[in-house]
Amino acid sequence: MLEISELQRDYITEILNISMGSAASVLSEMVSEEVALSIPEIDFLPRSVAAGKFDQTNMSKMSGVTQGISGAIYGDALLMFPEEKTLSIVRILLGEAVPVESLTEMEQEAMCEIGNIILNSVVSSIADILKKEIVSSLPRFIQGTGNEVFSVESSNHDDLVMFLKVDFGLESQSINGYVTLILNMDSLQDFITQLDEQINAIG
């Protein structure tokens, strides 16, 4: 497993939280509602462990948004919440209560946009750290168990996942979700190297 130092962890967390701040202000402006976003925790986990983390934590049904990333690093970026949390996020942001127990087509589209804003800012801060280009693709709505979402069966179990906890603050509620970046090993190694260079440059 990939180990990162306390210093590296602090550095990434700080950079990500700055971009979360700007994502939050974009969202706030769009919905005229106070939105707060922060990333209190980050981890690097093998894909299967990350999937298990979802399934254990009593959140077996997850839904959220995924988009592909390519360029300097490639893989998938995901923003996931327990299914009922996704429902409340969208409905609070849209300010409309629909008496239907799953997201409608339009609500899914709105969720895609919310996820897109958050994931784009995570991806651009990583591109900033790498000082390289990362191309992101359009968001897609997904739902399923941890295993389904990470499609563990079909891909390499040892791929590492950058696992970020996100706090979504809305109407004095704090909703917990996760942003994960599924990256291949080479990409990650590169990422860590770049990280060290920058930390050293700061002194």
């Binding site: 974009v26 769009m30 919905v31 988009q67 360029g71 942001l93 849209l94 629909v98 008496p99 239907v100 409608t104 087509e105 339009m106 609500e107 589209e109 709105a110 895609c112 946009e113 919310i114 897109n116 804003i117 784009n120 991806v123 651009s124 591109a127 280009e133 990362i134 191309v135 992101s136 693709s137 359009l138 968001p139």
Partner: protein
């Protein structure tokens, strides 16, 4: 130095490129979506037919113009910043219909009618080609989706309102039933008491014709009380107001007790209860009193629908985790057209006032509610020969 053939080849290539560009332009004109392309100078370099129609801006006005000149109102808006992000940071973005009301000033051009703004969902994608950055903006008309969900929303709200009304009505009905039943029971009990005293003669000898009338009054008061008790019972079971005391119950003991309790009733119809192949030691998971109530109803039904002088048989059959208790009579059976309604409230095959046997038609519906509450099943079979088999399947008690 360039040879002639080189320059010819170059001309041919340029011509082909021009032809292809033309062809692609035509293909894009067939698209059901609005498409336009912005280059790294933020200038519009492609504008398909859909865009021409919806924006009423022709290619000659738009091509080569800066995006913010084409849409001056969108300067500083989110759409401008995501186009910049696509060109500078290569991020793809989605602007949903719900979070961005009518992003571009685009309209359906309806002849004569008022122009209606198109409901849009917009995607913005970075494209890299030959070392240049472009941004493709694609607009989807989501008007049908908006209309569909509008209808869905109305329907869902109506359904919710209807459900509330129905729940309220059912709450009212069951409260009404139990209140009324309680209120009826008290005066009826005292009427029955008084009539009983008069009928017994302690208040003085009665003339025979008065005695007959009093006895009719007495019987009917009794019947009314039974009916009220049954109604009260079923409304309590249905509303979940009575708790079941579930626990291990010795089946044989309950059967013997029920049979004994119905002995006298059976004698009225000259019917004898026979318990076949008595198996002891079967413990079921049930509420004793409620189980007795079900058995009493099955046993009394069997007796009152049996011809005189025959037996009613009780069988116990073990199956897996359940046990079946069967009550078999040799009566006339259940009429075909009545079978589907037999467990309904107040249903009796012979609903006439002139029927020979008493009852309210509530016994089986109460029994069904009880058995199901205890996790069991009630039903009936038509055996070979005459009569009916009513059965209940209940859970065996399993030790932890």
């Amino acid at each position: 130095m360039l040879s002639d053939s080189d320059s010819v080849a170059r001309d041919v290539k340029a011509e082909q490129t021009g032809l292809l560009a033309n062809l692609f332009g035509k293909v894009l004109d067939f698209s059901e979506n609005g498409l336009f392309l912005v280059d790294s100078d933020r200038k519009v370099i492609l504008w398909n037919e859909w865009m021409v129609q919806a924006s009423s801006l022709g290619r000659e006005e738009v091509m080569g113009a800066a995006f913010v000149e084409v849409f001056p109102d969108l300067k500083g808006k989110r759409i401008e910043s995501v186009i910049n992000a696509a060109l500078d940071a290569h991020t793809a973005s989605l602007l949903s219909r719900s979070l961005n009301k009518a992003i571009f000033p685009l309209y359906f051009s309806e002849l004569g009618g008022e122009n209606q703004r198109i409901e849009q969902s917009v995607t913005v994608k970075p494209i890299q080609s030959d070392g240049h950055d472009y941004c493709l903006v694609q607009i989807t008309d989501v008007t049908p989706m908006v209309q569909r969900e509008g209808v869905l929303r109305v329907l869902a709200k109506e359904a919710e309102a209807a459900l509330e009304v129905a729940e309220e009505a059912s709450r009212f009905k069951s409260e009404f039933t139990s209140t009324v039943s309680h209120e009826l029971r008290t005066p009826l009990t005292s009427i029955r008491g008084s009539l009983g005293l008069i009928a017994s003669g302690v208040m003085g000898e009665l003339k025979p014709e008065i005695g007959r009338l009093i006895s009719i009054a007495c019987n009917n008061t009794e019947r009314l009380l039974f009916l009220i008790n049954d109604i009260l019972d079923i409304s309590k079971i249905e509303s979940g107001k009575i708790g079941f005391v579930m626990g291990p119950v010795d089946l044989l003991a309950v059967l013997l007790q029920s049979i004994e309790a119905n002995q006298a009733y059976g004698e009225q119809y000259e019917v004898r209860y026979v318990l076949n192949d008595v198996v002891g030691g079967i413990t079921v998971y049930a509420d004793t009193d409620r189980l007795m109530q079900v058995l009493n109803n099955l046993l009394s039904n069997a007796a009152k629908f049996s011809p005189k002088g025959v037996e009613v048989e009780i069988n116990v059959i073990r199956k897996n985790k359940m046990v079946r208790v069967e009550v078999r009579d040799y009566g006339s059976g259940i009429p075909e057209q009545f079978k589907s309604r037999i467990f309904e409230k107040f249903s009796q095959a012979d609903g006439s006032d002139t029927r020979k046997v008493g009852g309210t038609g509530l016994g089986l519906s109460i029994s069904k509610a009880i058995v199901e509450q205890m996790g069991g099943v009630i039903g009936f079979n038509v055996p070979e020969g005459q009569g009916t088999i009513f059965y209940i399947d209940i859970c065996l008690f399993k030790e932890k």
